[in-house]
Symmetry: C4
Subunit: 213 residues, 4 copies
């Protein structure tokens, strides 16, 4: 086993993360999408409609950040994930982001459902685990950015871009209501770690039956 995910080629690491997240129930069916920067201007992203427990390295496409053009695809029939626009916004907005992971978690959807209709953030619990987002305060008041879900993914992406243009979020993560979290990090391993951290925090919230927003 590679010692950490960053020791693997990006597509191999993404396929391994997909198997892992699928086994934990965070990528049911063909849900979710994962990406990693190949270089400053391009990223590898999962092809659309593939069962995430069974990806291989051919199930990724190379996409250009600035215009979404597909620069490389091994299987001609593959299309990039329907949510590629969200990944593009995050890579364009945050140059330090090297990987971006999106899954579906029942507890996350439930916690978001309980938030007020006009809430733009979910207050994360002030527990030790939040240090995993590099927050080193005694009683941190940190909100996970919360966005409305739309059938038109471009609209979600535009909302995210507009909000983050105004102010950088407190955590390298966001939540789309009735949908799921997206987490980014400075490396594949870092994004993977933070996804686990966020899942932990949201599971805590779901069980605590907090009704914040």
């Amino acid at each position: 086993m590679a010692n950490i995910l960053d020791d693997l080629p990006p597509r191999a690491a993404l396929a391994e993360i997909a198997r892992d997240f699928h086994a934990r129930g965070w990528m049911a069916g063909t849900a979710g999408n994962l990406s990693a920067r190949a270089d400053d201007e391009h990223f590898w992203i999962t092809a659309s409609g593939k069962p995430k427990g069974r990806l291989d390295e051919l199930d990724f496409l190379l996409v250009r950040v600035k215009d979404g053009e597909v620069v490389e695809r091994v299987r001609p029939e593959n299309k990039p994930s329907a949510e590629t626009a969200i990944h593009r916004v995050l890579y364009a907005r945050f140059p330090e982001a090297r990987a971006c992971l999106h899954g579906h978690i029942v507890e996350a959807a439930l916690v978001a459902e309980r938030a007020k209709k006009d809430a733009t953030g979910l207050r994360l619990p002030a527990i030790e685990m939040i240090k995993g987002f590099d927050i080193w305060q005694q009683n941190p008041k940190v909100d996970l950015p919360l966005f409305a879900n739309h059938l038109d993914v471009a609209k979600i992406a535009a909302d995210i871009d507009k909000r983050f243009k105004k102010s950088k979020p407190a955590v390298t993560a966001l939540m789309v209501r009735a949908h799921g979290p997206t987490v980014w990090g400075a490396s594949l391993q870092d994004a993977y770690n933070r996804f686990e951290i966020l899942e932990y925090l949201l599971r805590y919230l779901a069980q605590a039956r907090a009704r914040r927003g």
Copy 2:
């Protein structure tokens, strides 16, 4: 590993799904049954009474859709699943169905238990995951067909046939109260994906403590 389940011979794929579902607690003991079409007129189905975590390719029987006759069995003592009649109804009613998976899920049984006594459907949550059933609407109102359980499986099968003759369900799935979901799909992988999707939706409902029906 085969890239997707459809790359495997049908019985090998079914045995793999059975191990997978058993490990997740959806086929406790010898519960549940799985099938896949061999051709338009026949399907392979699990033998009755076998522990689902330990099937091999000899634990399946070839059954004729139109009359339920067992056309092939390797182990002479094997009998087809007690619920073969339900699979027959689904294959006869839906020519596009190529695989049919039935398991038992605690959350599914609980959600059904909470539905009104005369409810004929369970309203599924209008969350992103429902797209896994090819439902592309902003706020979909989709019901999972709900049926009463009977000791006499033929009666359940007849109820299903009667209802679906009148109208095709909104999802390729149904739920029998106090029992479990059955999901079908256009291929083995498709049925597997949809089973995961339905489990996710029902787990969401169970935790949301929705009392619809």
Copy 3:
């Protein structure tokens, strides 16, 4: 892989079940004990104090049903499980029992805790899964025998013997309050299947927040 557990030598099967149950959280630490008949008059049982995820075939002792004498032990320091007396009662009382599995399940302990103080049974839910105990009725009213826990295991064993002498239980299983279920079966595979079934039924009860007794 052996096709079913009964194809393995009894101690190998028990070690495999112990790893399986431990991985599912039903044998935390060194909790629980498992046995299988070697012949009509003797059974193999787990040694006391061993971590159940790491047993090998030397971690079992051969015990005589009628008087509890240890007939064979490979590691001289091994002692039979502290709850051997319960296994002896069950093998003596039920000649058809060939294996006997005892674990600890949080949901089982919680459901028992909610029962009335003087309840002698837990009403199992009348769901399809109960057929796994060979109960083929439309709305079965079946009670899982419930016993008080005592520090002195001999007292628990005597209570079980006394109760079952009067009347055979409706299921091949029992529950000791604040402790855990014990399940027996006509073979190792049968006992394993039934343990899974009972766990499913008790998990259903725990989530349904039923307060029967």
Copy 4:
């Protein structure tokens, strides 16, 4: 497989425990830290900031109990866990402790959150499983020591030292609020067993919605 964890070299055993705990969700991201005595005066502890599912034997540092000096490190960039001070206090206070395991468990944090603000202990449930802490009483009244969380780990360590100097805890374990449990044992296997036991007891409490303190 080694028969028990104590048959492995300490760092190999700790890496295996870390993979195991990570897979169960008790070491999300890089959370948690594990140690084992090398001799009376030194212990191996996990390096800071490593993903716990992917440790190898080079990811440990040898630390002196009395002053925290790092005596050996293979990777020069490695720093000992930020919570090394807590391990030092425990090894200094309890000569019989040979291993010390700290993880994060959602249920543990929730149960602690429900305790009264000035509670110094969590009453553990009087169920059979508590025997795993060598408590052999009919209705034991046992408290898990509860400590406040501080950004400054040295302050947590000092609180623990001060309390345990006055009186030895009833169990070889403690809980830091909003953080997680630390468990020690007379060997690596013993500490591992006890961590599982404590998780079971806290999960029971979380589900029982007890509000003790």
